[in-house]
């Protein structure tokens, strides 16, 4: 069951990034690798604060249906800004509220697509996504406790998704 959700989440995420954000992701395998990547990103942000923002955009959505729980998406802030520009077709600057709104919409799309691809007949209720800016160490604290942890790389930046299921 966890494996089918994991595969559906990977497929939905790759499709959404490519279709709506014109961004290609590389999938990372295994939780160990993911935790190492998160730790490495924290180290890099300490060494190179001027290159990489130490902030992450976190967006969460609750789902209720055949499976119930929480899906959490974390995007590096710099990447979030680029994705928002791509999403909206803007060339200059976007506001922080637009970045948070974009992250919420992305989370909503990933969650909706994930569960509708698992079973076309099931009905799910999704909450409104809630997005906020958090620090890098705050992200790594939250990843451990989830049943499903996914990591993706794009241009050296790490995107994580974790799914907590009410089993």
């Amino acid at each position: 069951m966890l494996e089918s959700i994991r595969k559906a989440a990977v497929s939905a995420t790759l499709n959404i990034f490519e279709t709506m954000y014109f961004t290609f992701l590389e999938t990372m395998d295994g939780n160990g690798t993911l935790m190492e990547a998160v730790a490495e990103q924290e180290k890099q942000s300490d060494r190179l604060p001027e290159v990489q923002s130490p902030w992450v955009v976190k967006s969460e959505i609750h789902f209720i249906g055949q499976y119930s729980g929480l899906l959490r998406l974390c995007l590096p802030y710099d990447l979030s800004r680029t994705l928002t520009l791509n999403f909206m077709g803007y060339e200059d600057e976007v506001s922080e509220s637009q970045i948070l709104d974009m992250a919420g919409e992305m989370t909503n799309m990933i969650c909706g697509n994930l569960f509708s691809s698992l079973d076309k007949t099931s009905v799910y209720l999704l909450s409104s996504p809630v997005s906020q800016k958090i620090s890098l160490p705050e992200r790594s604290k939250r990843i451990d406790s989830s049943e499903i942890n996914l990591g993706f790389l794009t241009e050296g930046q790490l995107v994580t998704i974790d799914i907590q299921l009410n089993l």
């Binding site: 499709n15 909206m88 709104d101 909706g112 009905v123 409104s128």
Partner: protein
């Protein structure tokens, strides 16, 4: 003929993205109006001529379901074609929405070409 379009979505960025997709799609539209939920959509309908409504489902204040019910019960707005643009993919729920009179749906994520094909198909025979 250019059609006036109303985009209903609680995400401001998604409304801008749908407008961008409309521009890219080549679909002939005139004025484009925006609403952040179903109630705001009804307010827009009171003061502007709208030919086509593109709406999300999950929204605060008044969601897409409630909006569609309001439209169906109103003789003035009941004939305006409604297209869902949503993450919803449940066939069970979509069947119920089609029974309420929704013309078509586009699942997010989508390409502008999909939007054009769906909208052109509907506006060729909007009241069918």
């Amino acid at each position: 003929m250019a059609y006036n379009v109303l985009i209903v979505d609680d995400s401001n960025t998604m409304r801008k993205v749908i407008l961008k997709a409309l521009n890219l799609s080549g679909f002939a539209f005139g004025d484009c109006f925006e609403a952040g939920n179903g109630q705001e959509a009804l307010n827009v309908l009171e003061s502007h001529w709208i030919d086509l409504i593109l709406t999300d489902l999950n929204m605060p204040v008044m969601n897409g379901w409630e909006l569609i019910h309001h439209l169906k019960d109103n003789p003035t707005y009941g004939e305006i074609p409604v297209v869902l643009i949503t993450t919803e993919g449940s066939e069970t729920r979509l069947r119920e929405l089609f029974q309420l009179g929704v013309k078509d749906y586009i699942q997010k994520p989508f390409h502008p070409e999909t939007l054009r094909d769906v909208l052109n198909g509907i506006m060729e025979k909007p009241y069918a």
